[in-house]
Symmetry: D2
Amino acid sequence: MTQAAVPSLLERIKGLAKSWIEVASSAKSGETLSFAPDLPEDDLDRLRPQLRGCLDGKGGEVSARARAAALGREYLSLSAEGRRRFLKLVADEFGPDPEAVDQAIAALQQAPADKRAGVEQRLREVLEPPRLRLLTQFNALPEGVKFLVDLRAELAGMAKGDAGLRALENDLKGLLSAWFDVGFLELRRLTWASPANVLEKLIAYEAVHTIQGWDDLKNRLDSDRRLYGFFHPRMPAEPLIFVEVALVQGLSGDIQQLLDLNAPAGNPDTADTAIFYSINNAQRGLNGISFGNFLIKRVVEELTREFKNLKNFATLSPIPGFCPWLESRLAEGEAGLLSGIEHRALAQISNGLTAKGSLKALLADPAWVADDHLAETLRGPLMRLAARYLAEERKSGVRALDPVAHFHLSNGARIERINWRADTSAKGLSQSCAMMVNYLYKLDDIEANHETYAGKGKVVISSAVKTLLKG
Amino acid sequence: MTQAAVPSLLERIKGLAKSWIEVASSAKSGETLSFAPDLPEDDLDRLRPQLRGCLDGKGGEVSARARAAALGREYLSLSAEGRRRFLKLVADEFGPDPEAVDQAIAALQQAPADKRAGVEQRLREVLEPPRLRLLTQFNALPEGVKFLVDLRAELAGMAKGDAGLRALENDLKGLLSAWFDVGFLELRRLTWASPANVLEKLIAYEAVHTIQGWDDLKNRLDSDRRLYGFFHPRMPAEPLIFVEVALVQGLSGDIQQLLDLNAPAGNPDTADTAIFYSINNAQRGLNGISFGNFLIKRVVEELTREFKNLKNFATLSPIPGFCPWLESRLAEGEAGLLSGIEHRALAQISNGLTAKGSLKALLADPAWVADDHLAETLRGPLMRLAARYLAEERKSGVRALDPVAHFHLSNGARIERINWRADTSAKGLSQSCAMMVNYLYKLDDIEANHETYAGKGKVVISSAVKTLLKG
Amino acid sequence: MTQAAVPSLLERIKGLAKSWIEVASSAKSGETLSFAPDLPEDDLDRLRPQLRGCLDGKGGEVSARARAAALGREYLSLSAEGRRRFLKLVADEFGPDPEAVDQAIAALQQAPADKRAGVEQRLREVLEPPRLRLLTQFNALPEGVKFLVDLRAELAGMAKGDAGLRALENDLKGLLSAWFDVGFLELRRLTWASPANVLEKLIAYEAVHTIQGWDDLKNRLDSDRRLYGFFHPRMPAEPLIFVEVALVQGLSGDIQQLLDLNAPAGNPDTADTAIFYSINNAQRGLNGISFGNFLIKRVVEELTREFKNLKNFATLSPIPGFCPWLESRLAEGEAGLLSGIEHRALAQISNGLTAKGSLKALLADPAWVADDHLAETLRGPLMRLAARYLAEERKSGVRALDPVAHFHLSNGARIERINWRADTSAKGLSQSCAMMVNYLYKLDDIEANHETYAGKGKVVISSAVKTLLKG
Amino acid sequence: MTQAAVPSLLERIKGLAKSWIEVASSAKSGETLSFAPDLPEDDLDRLRPQLRGCLDGKGGEVSARARAAALGREYLSLSAEGRRRFLKLVADEFGPDPEAVDQAIAALQQAPADKRAGVEQRLREVLEPPRLRLLTQFNALPEGVKFLVDLRAELAGMAKGDAGLRALENDLKGLLSAWFDVGFLELRRLTWASPANVLEKLIAYEAVHTIQGWDDLKNRLDSDRRLYGFFHPRMPAEPLIFVEVALVQGLSGDIQQLLDLNAPAGNPDTADTAIFYSINNAQRGLNGISFGNFLIKRVVEELTREFKNLKNFATLSPIPGFCPWLESRLAEGEAGLLSGIEHRALAQISNGLTAKGSLKALLADPAWVADDHLAETLRGPLMRLAARYLAEERKSGVRALDPVAHFHLSNGARIERINWRADTSAKGLSQSCAMMVNYLYKLDDIEANHETYAGKGKVVISSAVKTLLKG
C-alpha cells in the first residue's frame, strides 16, 4: 500500500552506518566491484575469488567480514537474474569437500564404539558447507539479519527444482533457526506511543484483516485493545509475528463490530474475555521456524497479570479453507450435503433467482449475504457444513484440514462457536461464506486438549458445535 | 574477591522471573523432581524419561521448553559428581541414531552427482544429535544463555579423556558459536555511570592487572580513560571481553604510573596516543570463539571518531612466557645467553651476593628489581633476551612462542618497544622480569603486517627492537 | 483534522494513573463531588470549602494535593459556563489578604534602609495570592502541567474585561514562566522512528504549511530533512515549539518543491544550506513565554555538528501581513504605489479583464497567479512593494510591521531574498501574493545584526533587496 | 569519605558540555574575565557591568544566558571570600527599584476595589528583584540546577546577620520551591543495577546509619530490601531524599541485625512488615522545601503494589534529642526522674563504680551498654524516660520536642514501640542511650492520627508505650 510504503531493504542499507563497508573499502583499496545487474560470466569470474577471499582466512576475520559486507551490498544492486546467478555460484561451488566427506565416512565405518562420538562429529564438521560460513558473514551488514531473512524468502522462490539452491535455502534455515531461537525473542507490546516506523510495518504486514490506514491502526491500539509482537534484538523495527487482542464481555462473534472505528472503547478492567482476532507471521523468510504458540502463551501470561477479571481467552478466526472445500464438494453433487427439507427451502426461496435452486447457484452471487431472508435460509445448512468441515475433515487422515483449525487445536484450543455473518467482507465471503470461529483456550484444559488432538487425533469441540453437527 | 563477590548463577536464577518455571510446574502438576545431589542410579532413571519428554514433541514445544527449564534448575542444585553424571547421561544416550546415520551414508554413496547436495544435507541432519536440541532448550531459563556458557566451562573441565563429554562440549561450542556471532555483539562503553552490577564484573574478571577495589575501578574510568566491552543482548550484565584504554601523550612505558590513583587525569582532547593496557576475555565458556580482534578494530574506530588528535594506537602488554622460557634456557647453561662482558659485570656486581654470580642466581631473589645498581647491570642482557624471546622464539616453528605476542602480531601490530621496570608487581616480576612491551597498531600498516606474519611467518619489529637484538 | 485527531486532555486524564486520585478518594471517603455542568450557586457553595481545604494545611500536604487533583478532574467535566464560574470563584475569593498587604506596606514605609530588603520580601510574600498555591497543586494531576497550560489558554479567552480573571491568568503565566524556563527544556529530534502519538501532534499543530497526512509527514522526516522540537520533561508527548529544516544546495525559493512528496531525497552530507521552512508554537497556553530564538540557536549548533559542509542557515518564510497591508494601501489609492510605466503595463494587460485595470482589480481574482503572462507583469511591482513592506513599514515606529520579519530580525537575521510565486496555495496567495522570503542567519553577523535592529532600529537587508527597493 | 568521594560540582562542570559557554565566548570574543580568587575591588567593578549585561536585554536572551553561564563558571573559581563578595554585590545592587515600588504602592492605595487585583499584581512585579532573574539565568549552566541548589546552601552559611544576603537566599528558596514542586519529582527505585555514580551518592549522603562501603551498600540493596529516592529531571544523578526499607516478619527492633552483612536475605514475598529504617534529605540547599511525607506515601503505594502480603508499615528510628534532653534534666537533679526503688537499684549496682550511684554517673561511661547486668538495671528507667520524652515533651508547647517524632507524628504515624539496646553504635549511644523507636503507619488511621496530632496537639501512642509511661 502506498500510504505506509515500507522502504526496501536496499534503500535502508544504503543510508545506514557504513563502518564495516568503510573498513572493507579501506582494506581493499582501489578495488571496486560494481557488477553488471545480470552478473554476466566475466563478473562471475571476478566474484568467485572475492567469495574465496571471505573464507581463506588471509587478511583476518575482520577483513573477511568487511569483504562479505561489500559483496552483500553488490548482491542487493543486482537484478533478479543476477541474484539467481550469484546464489547459484554460492550454492554449487561452496559445498562440502567430497573427498573429506568420503574420508570421514570411511573413518566412521571403522571407528570402535567408544570413539564413535568423536568421529561422528568430525563427519558433521566436514559436511558443514563453506557456503554456510559465507552466509553467516553477511551478518556484518548493518541490517545483516534482515538481509539473510529476506535472502531466504528470495531463495525459496528460486529454489524449485534446483537441488543446489534448495540446499542453500536449507542451510540458511538452519542458521536462522539457531538465531531465532525463541529464547532470543522479545515480547513487545505495541501502542500508539510506539515508533511510527514499527507501526507502519503492522499496516504493511497485517494480512488477516487489512488495516485501512493510520486511523484504523490507532483504533486497534485503543485502551480496550492489546497488540503484542515478537522481535529479535538485531531486527528491532521488524515484528516477526504479532497478535491483536480485544478485551470484551463474552465471546465476540462479529469482526465488523470489533473493527468499527466509531464504536466507543470498552472498559478493559471489567472485561472477562480476551479475543485474539488476528495473528500474523510477518517474515516470509522465517517460514517453518514457528513461534506462534509461544506468542499466545506469553500474551496470555501478560494479560492475566494486567487484567484480574479475565476468564476466557478465545480467538475470532477465519475458516480459510471452507469455501474451496465446499466448492469441490458441491462440484461432486449436493445430495449428501443438504437434507431434503433444506433442499426444498432453497428451491422455494430461489424461485425467482435460478432455475436450479441449488446451493452452488445461490452462493455464486455474493449478494446473498446482504439478503436477510435468503441468508436466514442458508444459515442452517452452511453452519452445519462448516462444523462438519472443521471437526471432521482431515489432511493425510490426521490433522484438521483447515490450517487455522489445525494451528489452534495443536495449541490446545477447542472449537467453541461458529458465528454467522461474522465477516461479510469480500475476503470473508469468498473464504468462509462470511462465517468465523471462536477457538477457546481454557487454561486448565490446554494440556489435555493438546494431548487429545496431537496424541489421539481427536478434535475437541463444544456442545454447541456438537449440536450443529447433529443438526 | 569478597568486596565485589559476584553472585553465583544459581543464586541469580533463583530470584528471577519464573514464568517458564511456573508454566513447567503447572504443566506437570504434582510431579516434583528433587534429585539427590549426587544423582544416584534411581534418580538417573527418573531423569531419563524427563529428558526424553523434552524431545518427543508430545505436549508441544512450549511445555518442552518449560520442562527443560525445570531440569536446568535441577542441574544447578546438584553436586559436582551429580552434574557429571547428568551430563554423561545426556552425552551418551542422546547421540545421533546410528542406524539412521548408516542409512544416510548408504544413500550418499549411491547418490548421483546432481542429487548429492540434498543427500549430504540429509546426512548432516541425522548426525545432528538430539542432545544438541536438549541443550538449546535450556535457553528458556531466565538466564539461559549464561547457563549454557557456564555449562561449557564446566564441561571443559570434565571432558578430558571422555569422548562422549568431549562431543557434548563440542556440540555446545557449535551452538554458542552461532549465537555469539560477532554480528550480534554490542560494543558498550562502560563508565562510572554504568550499572554497579556490571562494573563489579570488571573487578571480578580483570586478570591482567587486578583491580584493587572500587576506587581503583573509578580511576580506570576517569576522563582520560576508556573502557569498552562486547556484550550479548541476552547477557546484558556480563561483559564477554573488555579492553582498558588510556589516552596519553607518547607511548606509555610504565604500568605503575598508569594505574596510580593519585596521578591527575590528563586532557584526553590533546592526547595523541591510545594505550590499550589490558584486554580480558571474561567468559571461560566462550574459549575458542574469538572476538578480540573485532573489539580492537571497533574501539579504534570509536576513539578515532571521538578524539581528533589521536595518531597512535598501542598496547602496554606483559610478556607472560618470558620468565618460564628464560628459566628453561638458564637450566641448560648460561653460555649462549650472555656475552663475556655481561658475565663479568654480573660476577662483579654479585660478588658479595653469590658465589657463582650467575644470572639465574641473581634473578632468584626478587629484590634485584628494587636495587638500582643491580637492575642497571641486568637491564642490558634482560632487554636483549626479551627481544630475542619475542622476535625469534617460535611454537611449532610458526607462531610466536609468546601468546600475547602472537595475538597482537596476528592482528597486524608490530613489536615497538620493550620497557624496563615497567611492571614491578610480584606477577610482573615473575612472568616478565618486570618488563612490558608496546605493540603498535599503525592503521596503514595493519593489513601488510598481518600478511607478513600470518602469510610469511615473519615477525614485524621496530628499529629499536632490531638494535636490541643485535646488542 | 480527523485523521490524527488528538485526544482531549479530559479523555487522556480519565485513562491515566490514578494514584493521587485514589489517595484523594480514600482520604475523603464517601464524599463525592459531582457538580452540575454549569456549576449552579449551591455547587459553588460546596466548591468553596473544598478549595479552602486545599490551602488550610489540615490533613497535610499530601491530602491537599490529592484533593486538588480531584477538583481538577471536576473542573474538566464542567461546561464552558461552569468552568468560568469555577475560575471566577478562584480568582475573586483567593486573592491576597488586603489587611496583611496594608500592614506590610506600612512596615515598608517605615523601614530603615538596611532593613528594607527583608521588608520588601515580606510584602512580596503577602502579595502572593493563595489562588496561585491552588493552581500549583493541580500539578498533582497525572498530566498536571498540560492541564495548567491548557487552563491558561482557556483563561486568556475568558479574561477580557475581567480584572480578576486577568490577574489569575497572569499568576498562571508567572508560574509557567518559572516551570518552562529554557534550562528545563529538552531539544529532541523527531524522526520517523519517533512515537506515533508525538508525531500526530505535529500534524495537528503545524499551522504554517498544513501537513496533509502521514505520507506528507514522513516526507518531512526524510533523510534530507530534520525536525527539532523543545519538550518539557513533564509533557513528554507534547512539543512546545518545533522547526522543520530542509538540507539543500543554495537557497530554496519554492515551498511547493520542498514539500513535493514525489521529489527524491537529496544527499544531506553534501548540502551547503539549511532551510528553516516552518516554525510553530504548539501551545497557546505558553503565549508570551518565548523560546523560539533558543530553538533556532540550538538547532544551528546541532546541524553544524552533524553536517560539516553546511555554510548557510536561512528560512523560507511567509509574509503574513503583506496582503492586508497592501489592501489598505490600495484602498487609499494606487498613485503612490505604482510607477507610470507599471500602471500602463497593467492597464494594457488587463484590457479584456477589467475596465479599471487597477492592481486592486487584478489581484481580486486569484487566477492571476496561474496566468504566466499576467503574473510576469505583476512580478515587478509586487516584489518591490513586498520589499518596501518588509524593510520600511514599522509598528509603533520601531519594530518591523510584519510579525515574522520582526521575529527573525530580532534574532539577528537579515532579509536576503524575496521569492516570486514561492507559495501558490490559497493561503500563500491571500497572505503574501504567493511570495516568500529567505531570512539569512550568517553566524558571524548575528550579534551585529541584532544590535543594528534592536539597538538602532535599522532593518538589515541584502543588496538584492536594496536593488528591489530602488526599482 | 575517600572511598566514594563525590566529585565537586566545579570538577564536574569543567568537564561537561560546553555549548552555552562556547556561545558565550564566541558572542563576547576577546573578552576574558578571569577574576582574582578574592574578587578585589577592581574585579568587582568589572563584574558589575557583566551582571547588568545579563539583564538589559541587549544582545538577546540567548546571549544573556550564555553570559550568565560564563559568570557562573567564574563564581566557581573564586575563594570563599570572593564568593561572598560576588553574592553581596548581586544581593545589594540588584534589588527592586525603590521608586517603582513607591509608585506602585501609591497606585494601590488609590485603586478602586474592582481594579485592585491588577494593581496588586503590578506591585508584585516591581517587587520582584532583578537579582532573581540573574539567578534564574544560571540555569543555563550544564548542571545549573545543582549549581543553584548548592549556591543556596552556601548562602545559608553566609547570610547570618546580613539582610541583603538573607533576602537573596530567600529569593532562591522561592525559585527552587517552584522548580522542585513535588509534581516534577520522579520516584526511582535504586538497585544494585543502578549507575555507580548515583550509588556513590548514597554512600556519601547517608547520615542516619553510615554506609561503610560498597559491600554494605550492596547488602542494603539485597532482594529483601528496597531503596527509593526522589529525583529531579535536571539533576538525574543526585537523589534529593531517599528512604531505605527492609521487608521482614513483624516489627524489627534491632538495627544491628538489619545491617548485618552476614545475615541471609529473607523472602520478601512472605514479609508482612516494611521497616523504613533510614530516611535522608540529601541536599542542604533544599532545606525547608519538604517532600519527605510525599516520599513515604509514594513508597507505601509502590510496596503495596509489589508485595501482596504486606500489612504493616513502620519505621525503626533514632531518638536524636533524648540524651541531650536527659542530660539537661539530670543537671537539674535526678529526684523527679527516678523512683525510689530505681534509685536504690542503681546505687546498689554502682557500688564499686561510683560514689554517687547516680544515673548521670552511670551513663557517663559508655561501657554500660555492654554490661548485661548493669544494662538490665538501667532498662526500666531509661525506657520509661524515653517514653516520657517522646510523648510528653513539647517545643513551644505544641509540637513534639524530638524532631524525628514530630516528623512522623505529623505524617499520621503513632509511637508503637521503644526498643532496648537497638543501636549500640557510638552515635546511637550518645544520642538515644542505644534505644530506637518504631513509628507505625496504619493506613486506615493515618488521616485520623494526623488530625489528632496536628489539629488537637495530642500524640498518638500504642498501649505498650502507655504502659511504659505509667511504669
